[in-house]
């Protein structure tokens, strides 16, 4: 199921990875270090890049006044042909990670309250409760098992969509992921887990610590980088421009031919306009060199209806491509996902279920719904 495209590398790669672990680069010196970085020149055997330079001189000769010599666009300069391979990454599933909403019996009359308690929100809860009642009487579902199945299908259907897998498939390397969200949602932890997972699948990962604000946030990511055996770009100093760090992270990913750059950003409350604007700047800095594959909005499952306000605001400024819901290992049910899906039409991509490095899963609407209606 999880087949993704990454750069083709030989067996020789393994020692390189080990070396990369130690490589913590201070942002300002990135370029030099990046050049030194041991890279296996896999693509040297390939066709050299078509030289755009050859064309330009002729143009200049024939019409010296009319056309100013144009720099070839960045995209053309980059060595385009990269050999790719499709790899399977270890599958992660939610399993029995979600707590059920119900005790022994499903009581349709109490459904609305139960859904409200699970943070579905009043409107969604009313809607689903009414829908279940209607369907139940239509299908003649009365037994507990029938009702559970009915609700499960209903819930699954509401979240099901095609694009819920991570965008690691278009082959436009390096992939760039951006993690955004409010303070304390779990961005850094999510990135750490994601990096380790990719690393396990032999991916080359570069992490960018663009949370230059919170005390020791960079160190926190650095610890995860160590665990994920991946290099990290640090800001030159505390409070440095996060956009610069993002830029350098992508630059390093390109120079070291990494497969993916994952950038951590500072937590920001969605009503802080200046901080939200900063996200736009980070985006633009990244886009100077590469396409952004995913902007993951990290939402804490314990948050209630405010998650909607978060999602709206972040979608507006940062073009969120998917949602990560963290802390689902607690008692919070994350019912707000249904309202989010309806209102903003954003796929839910990952869920976090603990503090350990493997504690995350890919979101499956069916597994999630199954968990919610399961009989304890």
């Amino acid at each position: 199921m999880f087949k993704f495209l990454k750069r083709l590398r030989g067996e020789k790669d393994t020692p390189v990875e080990a070396q990369a672990v130690e490589q913590e680069v201070v942002a300002e010196t990135v370029f030099e270090v990046a050049v030194d970085a041991p890279v296996v020149e896999e693509h040297t055997q390939l066709e050299p890049v078509a030289e755009p330079v050859a064309v330009t001189p002729t143009v200049v000769k024939q019409a010296p006044i009319a056309v100013p010599v144009e720099e070839p666009p960045v995209a053309e300069k980059a060595p385009a042909p990269v050999e790719l391979e499709a790899v399977e990454l270890p599958k992660r599933s939610l399993g029995s990670g979600v707590r059920s909403l119900f005790g022994d019996v499903v009581d349709v009359d109490e459904l609305e309250d139960i859904l409200i308690l699970a943070d579905f929100g009043v409107e969604t809860a009313e809607e689903i409760a009414a829908q279940v009642k209607k369907e139940a009487s239509r299908q003649g579902a009365t037994t507990d098992a029938e009702l559970r199945l009915l609700l499960k299908d209903l819930l699954t259907e509401r979240l099901e969509r095609k694009d819920s897998s991570l965008n690691l498939e278009d082959g436009k390397l390096p992939y760039v992921f951006l993690a955004v969200g409010v303070n304390g949602a779990g961005k850094t932890t999510t990135i750490g887990k994601l990096a380790r997972w990719l690393k396990d699948g032999q991916w080359e990962v570069v992490l960018g610590a663009a949370d230059t604000y919170r005390a020791a946030a960079v160190d926190q990511l650095a610890t995860w980088a160590e665990r994920a055996e991946s290099p990290i770009i640090r800001p030159a100093k505390e409070g440095a421009d996060p956009a610069a760090v993002a830029y350098q992270t992508v630059e390093m990913a390109i120079n070291t031919e990494a497969d993916i750059a994952i950038i951590d950003t500072a937590g920001r409350l969605q009503n802080k306009k200046d901080l939200m604007d900063e996200l736009g700047k980070i985006r633009r800095a990244v886009e100077k060199q590469a396409k952004i594959s995913e902007v993951l909005l990290v939402i804490d499952a314990t948050n209630g209806q405010n998650a909607m306000s978060q999602a709206k605001a972040f979608t507006e400024v940062a073009d969120v491509t998917g949602i990560v819901m963290t802390k689902l290992d607690g008692t919070a049910k994350g019912g707000i996902l249904y309202a989010l899906q309806k209102e903003l039409n954003l796929p839910i991509k990952l869920v976090g279920v603990g503090e350990q490095i493997n504690d995350f899963a890919f979101f499956s609407p069916e597994e999630f719904a199954k968990g919610l209606v399961a009989k304890k």
Binding site: D119, G186, A215, A216, Q220, T223, N271, K273, Q305, G330
Partner: protein
């Protein structure tokens, strides 16, 4: 969409306001609205049920039917009940009879414990205590480093014998910390612990271990104000697990509706002691239940504002200013000083946000550009003393020079002068006891005028607040713009015209 609980409730009450008598169905309809508003504000369902029940009982009772204005009476009941759930009067931190006082922080991951530890330490230090920060979060990567950085910024000693990141025993660290604090005579010990889920029995056991090792005078439960329905479960788990003696609400500077405050206060029965309102180490204040309830009901947080103002405003200077305004000699120089004073008071947005009725202009507040003040400053700095004192002399060529000198444009200079003239006019009106009410202006655009206006206004009698227009329709419209209903003319400062 409603911005928040206050907006929602004030909308609900608008329907009630005009009524002379309330029928049972009026009350039920209102209560349904209130129920929904509270649920959308993330107040836990069981708390909402209790709350609605209590209000219904009182609203249907004699007290309302006999009241002159039943609608207002309902509002009053809602306000009282809100305040009561939030804990009545504000509570103080308990200090031990013999130091050190031990404060233990506990809460979910990401609720803001470590940041709060830094703020609390700074606050205590300002109160002439000698706090010691203890790094007992050995779980989260570099939580220890984070605390050390905070200690450095606040100049508070950090006790961190273990590097953390999964190694070391937090119970042991806590034990050593107390011994160390006693020996080195620290007056308060703040123990930062790892974030933990209520259902994580192992981690909860560890928290109990830490508690037993340090014997805390306060166990502060740190709660993210964005918490949803789960707040009840979490609060129960912590109350039954490690125990809770006080609550701290964090991230209140966000746009969350803050219903978690109600849920947690209700479930734990512990007072909310502090609220945390930003990432800066100063963004921390004592929690005032009655003000929070008022805020929820959109009455503004005027008392907080006054306190904050008193911190920075020089009494004498404000008197001088008030005289100046009254005698019509308010100059650009004063305008500048005003603005600088206002800046000292803290972030403009947070100040404006505390004004009554500010809920309605939240959007504008968010868009307000702090650098606008810097530009205004630059323009005034580029003027000669004569120009600052007599704005009338500012002709075209002077304006051009000023624009060049301040790196702005003539248009911006012109705008500033227009704003200044408006501000001067507003202040004069206010100094005479009127309300600033120039159509087309709002406090945000007035910039520096807000602080001065309100200080000046406070000194005068309030008899004539409200629009003075002779046209009743216009008067009503203008008063509405101020966030007061026409009916409240006689009693300004109270959004619902309730007799206290």
């Amino acid at each position: 969409m409603f911005g928040n609980l206050s907006d929602r409730l004030s909308d609900t009450f608008k329907n009630l306001r005009g009524k002379g008598r309330l029928s049972a169905s009026d009350i039920d309809a209102t209560l349904r609205d209130i129920r929904r508003a509270l649920l959308e504000a993330d107040v836990a369902l069981e708390v909402v049920k209790d709350f609605i029940g209590a209000i219904r009982e009182r609203a249907l009772g004699d007290e309302v039917s006999k009241a002159l204005n039943p609608a207002q009476q309902v509002v009053q009941i809602v306000n009282e009940e809100l305040t009561q759930i939030l804990g009545g009067e504000s509570k103080q931190l308990r200090f031990a009879k013999s130091p050190p006082t031990v404060i233990m922080l506990a809460g979910l991951q990401g609720s803001g414990k470590t940041t709060l530890a830094g703020k609390l330490a700074k606050w205590l230090k300002e109160q002439n205590q000698t706090p010691l920060l203890v790094a007992a979060d050995l779980q989260r990567p570099n939580a220890v480093t984070q605390l050390e950085v905070l200690g450095e910024r606040t100049g508070v000693t950090v006790f961190a014998p273990e590097p953390g990141n999964g190694t070391g025993n937090p119970v042991e660290v806590a034990k050593q910390a107390i011994a160390h604090a006693k020996k080195a005579q620290f007056s308060v010990v703040i123990v930062d612990t790892a974030g933990r889920l209520g259902v994580d029995e192992e981690m909860m056991q560890q928290a109990i271990g830490i508690r037993d090792a340090v014997g805390p005078d306060e166990i502060l439960f740190v709660v993210d104000s964005m918490l949803g329905q789960d707040a009840v479960n979490v609060a129960k788990a912590f109350k039954d697990g490690v125990g809770v003696t006080g609550v701290v609400l964090t991230k209140l500077d966000g746009d969350s509706r803050g219903g978690a405050a109600l849920s947690v206060a209700n479930v734990t029965g512990a007072p909310i002691l502090f609220s945390s309102t930003g990432e800066g180490l100063d963004a921390f204040e004592t929690f005032h239940p009655e003000r929070m309830a008022g805020r929820i009901l959109d009455m503004g947080d005027v008392v907080s504002l006054i306190e904050q103002a008193q911190k920075t405003f020089d009494e004498e200077e404000s008197k001088k200013l008030a005289d100046k305004i009254a005698s019509d000699s308010f100059t650009l120089q004063d305008f500048l000083e005003q603005m600088q004073q206002l800046r000292k008071m803290g972030n403009m947005k947070s100040i404006l946000g505390m004004m009554p009725g500010a809920g309605k202009m939240k959007k504008q507040l968010e868009d307000f550009d702090e650098s606008e003040i810097a530009r205004t400053e630059a323009i005034i700095f580029s003027m000669t003393p004569v120009e600052r004192n007599m704005p009338k002399v500012l002709n075209g060529s002077r304006r051009q020079r000023i624009a060049r000198g301040s790196g702005t444009t003539v248009t911006e200079v012109n705008q500033l002068i227009i704003r200044f003239e408006q501000a001067a006019k507003v202040m004069k009106t206010m100094a005479k006891g009127g309300m600033p009410n120039i159509p087309g202006t709002n406090p945000v655009q007035m910039g520096g005028a807000v602080g001065g206006g309100y200080i000046g206004g406070k000194k005068k009698d309030n008899k004539k607040k409200g629009s003075k227009s002779g046209n009743p329709a216009k008067r009503a419209a203008e008063n509405k713009g101020l966030g007061y209903s026409a009916a409240t003319e006689t009693k300004p400062g109270n959004a619902f015209g309730l007799e206290k």
